[in-house]
């Protein structure tokens, strides 16, 4: 039997298994190798909130989806072409998403009566007609890795844990990927346990060779390199990009980075990453709670560092009072919300965009805070950098909104040259002898107040949460002054529009439908308008980077379209803002299912609106 190699543009694979099966790791390795091969790609890790739900249970299923392509892509894919199901529960949970006729690869060894029962199967789906419309490869992976490692002096349990490497090896064979990057990685990962390097490499090879020698696969697939713009690339996920963006801004501004935070899913990796940057002088402070996380950052900003805190919705709620303090004290501060499903503890490991109102309005009093949202994992770098830049320039707290999908998802990232990034000037105040220091004097263009840091002789002054008199900064209860200061704080934030470039419209400047999006839905919306435009529809996309203040030219763009569609992973938060701000009849597409939009969801809604 000959094996045919078929060229395809794009493939979506979903790895699914028990929490202990190492699916995140398997997906990440496949991603790294695929990045090196030169495909464009996008990933979607999807794991349960429980560290180890009971083995074999539906609740314990962990999955990792990636799309890779020879063309430019923007999403992890709507539906998988290939489902790797390491146990019956994984098959049960994910089968419905698989495309009709898609490939299923299972670990047959895990389809025991006990696991079938845990997954709620009355009969074995590998033996009945459940899977008859799919291409099924059921392989006794556990037995095969045991054979591959049989002369090794390690426990059967340890051997069995290499079965994910078997699956990975097989997929490398099917999709023509090299094994070396994974072998090198295993060497570093298990440096101190050579027996694990050996057993994992054996399993990886066994999987690859299985494809090569067992004549059940008739087709291998080739996905050519994607035509990415020339340059140097790496694979990057959102939380890492955020961390590096913060660091880059502090190096540019030549002031130390201080991070105060408390662990919370899905933001903790920012703390972990920044903690590994001690050699850059980064100070990370794992505080006693969310409030101390942000207040320590405010203290550090007062003392001349760029103070940063990151959390997710429940933690941001605790920080609200402190954000108000940073607003009235007019100190630079960056608050990152890696959004997850809410309310309350909600869906800790699932993505959502429902904290926009919290960022815009979640404080007492008139407390405007600029809000910038990242659009892709790699864009988190630029968003974090810009958040610091604006915070320092305007002496204001800035909200950066990320989300669980961006935080954990990854994509190839064109590596910027540090020298090309814009400069940031902290402009600390210095003593001008004889001139009385006015802590609430203002820069004419920005309305920013001076940043006079403790330790500077002659500039001793007091700030605080009580309303301050214009110029002097003395406590003031004067009614006119309060009104005036409220307007000044609002105008200062509005002035940030000076730093927002003209809005980019993907597509024609007018038409039947404008899709208006913000944050992590960029990829899905981008894919959707490409499909719609290919169908000849007069559809354009505007994706907002700053949600507060909104770009100056947005109003005039909106009125040039007959329909406006705002897809959001919330119940219509930006829609309400846009309707209130511009008096336009914006329609929402609102889904909160803990996962990104499928581009098809947006296409269908658009077709409903414009036929």
């Amino acid at each position: 039997m000959s094996i045919e190699t078929k060229n395809v543009d794009k493939v979506v694979i979903r790895f699914a298994g028990d929490s202990g099966d190492g699916m995140q790791l398997t997906g990440t390795r496949f991603t790294e190798t695929t990045a090196i091969v030169g495909n464009d790609l996008s990933t979607l890790p999807d794991y349960p909130a429980e560290i180890r739900a009971p083995a074999g249970s539906l609740a314990g299923v962990s999955a990792f989806q990636l799309q890779f392509s020879s063309k430019e892509i923007h999403t992890p894919g709507d539906q998988p072409d290939v489902l790797v199901a390491m146990n019956p529960a994984a098959l049960k949970v994910h089968l419905a998403d698989l495309i009709s006729g898609g490939i299923i690869i299972t670990n047959e060894s895990a389809f025991s009566p006990k696991n079938l029962k845990l997954a709620g199967y009355e009969s074995n789906p590998l033996e009945d007609d459940t899977l008859e419309s799919y291409e099924v490869y059921s392989i006794e992976m556990s037995r095969l890795v045991a054979t591959a490692c049989e002369d090794m002096d390690i426990s059967p349990k340890t051997v069995d844990r290499t079965k994910n490497m078997f699956a990975l090896g097989l997929l490398y064979w099917i999709y023509n990927r090299p094994l070396e990057p994974t072998i090198n990685w295993l060497g570093i990962k298990f440096k101190k346990r050579p027996e694990l390097i050996d057993s994992n490499i054996r399993a990886l090879n066994a999987g690859y060779n299985y494809g090569e020698t067992v004549e059940i696969f008739t087709t291998r697939f080739a996905v050519e390199k994607a035509p990415l713009a020339a340059g140097k690339y790496r694979n990057i996920n959102g939380n890492y990009a955020t961390s590096v963006g913060l660091l880059a801004a502090s190096v540019k501004a030549n002031i130390p980075l201080f991070y105060g935070g408390y662990p919370i899913t899905p933001a903790s990796d920012i703390l972990h990453t920044l903690a590994s940057f001690r050699h850059f002088g980064v100070k990370t402070f794992q505080a006693e709670d969310e409030i101390a996380g942000i207040t320590s950052a405010i203290g550090a900003s007062f003392a001349g560092s760029i103070g940063v805190t990151a959390s997710s919705g429940p933690g941001i709620a605790l920080k609200a009072e402190a954000i108000g303090l940073a607003v009235i004290a007019e100190l630079p501060l960056v608050i990152i919300n890696v959004q997850r499903g809410g309310p309350s503890t909600g869906l800790p490991t699932k993505t959502e965009q429902a904290d926009l109102f919290q960022a815009l309005f979640g404080r007492n009093g008139e407390a405007p805070v600029p809000v910038i949202a990242a659009q892709t994992p790699g864009d988190c770098f630029y968003t974090a950098f810009e958040a610091c830049q604006i915070a320092i320039k305007y002496r204001t707290p800035v909200f950066m909104l990320s989300d669980g999908y961006l935080a954990n998802g990854s994509e190839p990232w064109s590596i910027p040259s540090f020298d090309d990034l814009p400069n940031i000037q902290p402009d600390f105040s210095a003593n001008e002898n004889g001139v009385p220091f006015m802590p609430y004097a203002r820069d004419e263009k920005t309305l920013a107040r001076p940043w006079a840091i403790p330790g500077t002789p002659g500039l001793e002054h007091r700030i605080g949460g009580l309303e301050k008199e214009d110029m002097t900064g003395n406590v003031s209860y004067d009614p006119e002054n309060h009104h005036h200061m409220t307007e000044l704080r609002a105008q200062k934030v509005a002035n940030i529009t000076q730093d927002i470039p003209p809005t980019d419209i993907l597509g024609a400047a007018s038409g039947d439908l404008l899709i208006l999006s913000w944050g992590g839905t960029y990829g899905s919306c981008r894919s959707a308008i490409e499909r719609l435009q290919n169908e000849g529809k007069k559809v354009s996309l505007v994706h907002l980077r700053w949600v507060n203040p909104l770009p100056k030219d947005l109003g005039e763009i909106l009125i040039r379209f007959k329909n406006i569609l705002i897809p959001e992973l919330n119940m219509g938060q930006l829609s309400k803002v846009v309707r209130a701000e511009y008096l336009v009849d914006a329609q929402g597409l609102n889904l909160v299912r803990g996962r990104p939009f499928r581009a098809a969801d947006i296409v269908t809604k658009a077709q409903e609106l414009i036929g």
Binding site: E32, A35, I36, G38, K225, A229, A230, G231, K232, Y233, R234, N235, I236, V244, L247, V251, P256, F258, G260, F277, R278, H279, F280, G281, K283, F285, A287, I291, A292, T295, S296, A297, I298, G299, A300, S301, F302, A303, G304, S305, G307, E321, A322, L325, I415, P416, S417, F418, I453, P454, G455, P457, G458, E460, R462, I463, G464, G465, L466, V475
Partner: protein, 340 residues
Amino acid sequence: MAETTVETPKLGRRDFVSDQAVRWCPGCGDYAILSQTQKTFPDLGVDKEKFVFISGIGCSSRFPYYMNAYGFHTIHGRAPAIASGVKLANPELSVWIITGDGDALSIGGNHSIHLLRRNLDINVMLFNNRIYGLTKGQYSPTSELGKITKSTPLGSLDRPFNPLALALGAQASFVARAIDRETAHFRTMILRAHNHIGTSFIEIYQNCNIFNDGAFAPMTEKETKADKVLWLENNKPLVFGAEMNKGIRLDGNVPKVVDIGDKWSTDDLLVHDETDWTIAMILSHFTYQDEFPDPIGVFYAVDEPIYEVMLAEQIEFAKKNKGAGDIQTLLDGADNWVVE
């Protein structure tokens, strides 16, 4: 050109007086504390611009506005966390937290204990008046059980916190108590706190003459003071009383007040040792107990590792180990590829 040496003028009290009108109630114990602080600070030997006062919310927390120094009047209970950020960002600063019994022990209790265990080189002045003043007279976490206030017309049901026992339990490295009216002694406590490297915690008995007048009267009034105050001196037996004829003796591990004379001599008394945590803990429990005098002075002072010093060491270690970070190398990452 001839060299001229400019003598830095010596700082005085007036250098620390801000131009803001002090707005505490007439007769408030805070005045004496502010005044003594302004008098003592010139003698700490620190450049004035290096002092930073951080406060939370409450009557005492207005203090920074009245000191001509860098100051930050923050939000309720959070001063320890803000001060930690200030100190970590710039360890050269002399950071002073001004707080009260509600601010530090109720809404900010969590931050207080964590500040103490981390042992940053920060000084805490806790003004304890055992009442909520700014909100006009509700009981506080240090009010005695059964306290009748506006919010507890039939008496409070909360057992009071013991601030010093709490601080000791939180592994504070310096714990002391002062009284607003004992200004000379308070000066000594400020100096001791300043000189201690690590978090210094001073509880100050402070009279609120509006809502809790006389809360510490036995310790401040001439007629009773001698019998109700135990002045702590390191390595000295614990003696008190108008005639200095009473003392503290340990019976096993139970402290007893004894008369010095026929049965007991000063040799039988407990000798104060500022480095003995157990003694400090025993003494801290005298408060609220009528049969004992209230100890005033330094309860405990030991050297413990300093958070910001260890952080600086970690940064140096990392730089030595990995080399000073290069941002472009970090951006490039380990696994990159070039598209032509």
